[in-house]
């Protein structure tokens, strides 16, 4: 069953100060089935992240449609849906993970993960239990749980990001170069985790620099160059 269908997605940026238009991805088309994992590879600047950011509505789509099969709303075009529906989907159905950490100041790793559940309306006790389970699953050392993540290493931050995104059990997970700057050990750990998520029917789109990393995890891999699939 199709969960996401992208039809002719294009994104241009207009920079007022320079009076220049920059064309990023152009006429992208693909579809993603339930439980499928699509990988997107390509050099920096090829437009890979742009696709994910358009799906997440961090970028406004210039042309085309992003049809998502939502549990709450049915079929919905993420490129034009009302902002409040996008906020709802981000809270309950769509997860976005990048290599960067985005935490509130004075928030511990445990609170960061719990916060995702509390904003969904879960109880404190449930949130604490699920957060613990997720932090264990992603093998974040227990002595770090009650510390502020600003001092964490790249690998620890990534695992925390994954824990926060996954604790909500999203139906669609967008992974924006999550393995950049990780050592080989951490990378294989992430690969195992992604494999296990896939077996639980999570649909995923991931961007990776490293093609060998994707072998055996992705069902399909698209290569991107100058804004288009090649």
């Amino acid at each position: 069953m199709e969960i996401l269908k992208i039809e002719g997605l294009s994104k241009d940026f207009f920079l007022h100060e320079a009076q220049r238009e920059i064309r990023s991805c152009q006429d992208i088309r693909f579809s993603l089935d339930r439980g499928q994992f699509i990988g997107i590879a390509g050099r920096s600047g090829a437009g890979k992240s742009t696709i994910l950011k358009c799906i997440n509505r961090t970028y406004l789509t210039s042309r085309g449609r992003i049809l998502y099969e939502s549990e709450a709303f049915g079929r919905i075009d993420l490129a034009s849906a009302p902002e409040r529906e996008i906020l709802y989907l981000r809270k309950y159905e769509i997860g976005y993970v990048s290599q960067f950490l985005n935490v509130m100041p004075r928030t511990t790793a445990r609170e960061h993960v719990m916060g995702a559940l509390l904003e969904m309306g879960g109880s404190e006790a449930e949130a604490a239990r699920d957060a613990r389970e997720m932090l264990c699953y992603f093998r974040l050392p227990e002595e770090l749980w009650d510390l502020y993540p600003s001092t964490f290493s790249g690998g620890e931050r990534l695992r925390l990001n994954l824990a926060r995104a996954m604790v909500k059990r999203p139906r669609l997970l967008l992974l924006d170069e999550p393995t950049a700057s990780l050592d080989d050990g951490s990378k294989s750990l992430v690969r195992e985790m992604l494999r296990s998520l896939k077996s639980k029917d999570t649909s995923m789109i991931g961007i990776f620099h490293d093609l060998t990393f994707m072998e055996g995890v992705c069902d399909r891999v698209f290569n991107m160059s100058e804004g288009a699939f090649v």
């Binding site: 007022h16 009302p82 902002e83 409040r84 709802y88 100041p105």
Partner: protein, 277 residues
């Protein structure tokens, strides 16, 4: 499913002008001042909605109309035109700007809490912290001294003012503590909307983080909707779900906060985001 709930607050076509206005005002407005008659449009056709439990960020430079909007909502100044409907006020059918002065006082005391950048505007510096909260409760009709003391203690605890200091006046507190007392006072009457006007401006970074953390907790605990004015994009990024950008009395752009910051459309927003350190 459709998200059909009504907004907590709906502002429609708010205008505030200083001057008589003229025919040319509509067509040849230069920034927010009419070159023909000299009328200044401090707010020009502003419409927005705030939903339950959401934080709506408002950014813009000095003179963009952010504070004018806040002051109109808190009924400190009278708008020239427009309407503002609260879901919890007369089923959202009567604009708070169209009622008598006595009714306005009631609206202000029951529906809203305001936190100013400068605590002097929001607090009685010589009253005790508890009395600052009690005053707000009395204004809303509370007369039971025991209930007032209980509520004051609960709120001051929620903003982490130690019980040993609740009898002290805000005058002897640090800037960060004063801001926290202001927040607790604003929450006294279970408002549907909290107005936060540059609340972290001028505070040390560590104190700022504490106040931000507190606002986040309050939102989660009380489910209150928040209108957050700040010129600090980091504060907006951290707290706001959606953001509107104001320039020369108008809203020039609005959207999801991360979209505004990563894919700004308007020339002014692009300039603002590119100036971010």
């Amino acid at each position: 499913m459709h998200l059909k709930e009504k907004p907590v607050l709906e502002v429609k076509h708010l205008s505030v002008r200083y001057g008589e206005g003229c025919e040319a005002c509509r067509s040849s407005l230069e920034k927010n001042r009419c070159p023909v008659c000299g009328t200044v449009w401090a707010a020009n056709d502003i419409s927005l909605e705030v939903y339950h439990g959401e934080v709506l960020g408002i950014v813009g430079e000095s003179g963009s109309g952010k504070s004018t909007l806040m002051r109109c909502l808190y009924l400190d100044i009278e708008p020239t035109g427009g309407s503002a409907f609260f879901k919890d006020y007369k089923s959202g059918r009567t604009s708070i700007w169209d009622v008598s002065a006595a009714e306005k006082r009631r609206v202000r005391n029951h529906l809203m809490g305001m936190v100013y950048q400068n605590p002097i505007l929001g607090l009685r510096m010589d009253f005790t912290s508890s009395a600052n909260i009690a005053e707000k409760l009395i204004a809303a009709g509370e007369r039971d001294a025991g209930a007032m003391t209980g509520r004051a203690t609960e709120l001051l605890e929620a903003v982490e003012i130690p019980s040993s200091r609740m009898k002290e006046p805000p005058r002897v507190f640090s800037g960060g503590m004063q801001q926290r007392v202001q927040i607790s006072r604003a929450l006294a009457n279970h408002p549907s909307l909290l107005l936060l006007d540059e609340v972290t401006t001028g505070l040390d970074l560590s104190v700022q983080a504490k106040v931000l953390d507190l606002i986040r907790k309050i939102r989660a605990k009380y489910g209150v909707s928040i209108l957050l004015v700040s010129h600090d994009l980091a504060v907006i990024r951290m707290l706001a779900d959606r953001t509107v950008v104001m320039l020369d009395g108008k809203i020039v752009e609005s959207g999801l906060t991360d979209q505004i910051l990563e894919d700004p459309q308007h020339a002014y927003t692009q300039q603002l985001v590119h100036s971010l350190i």
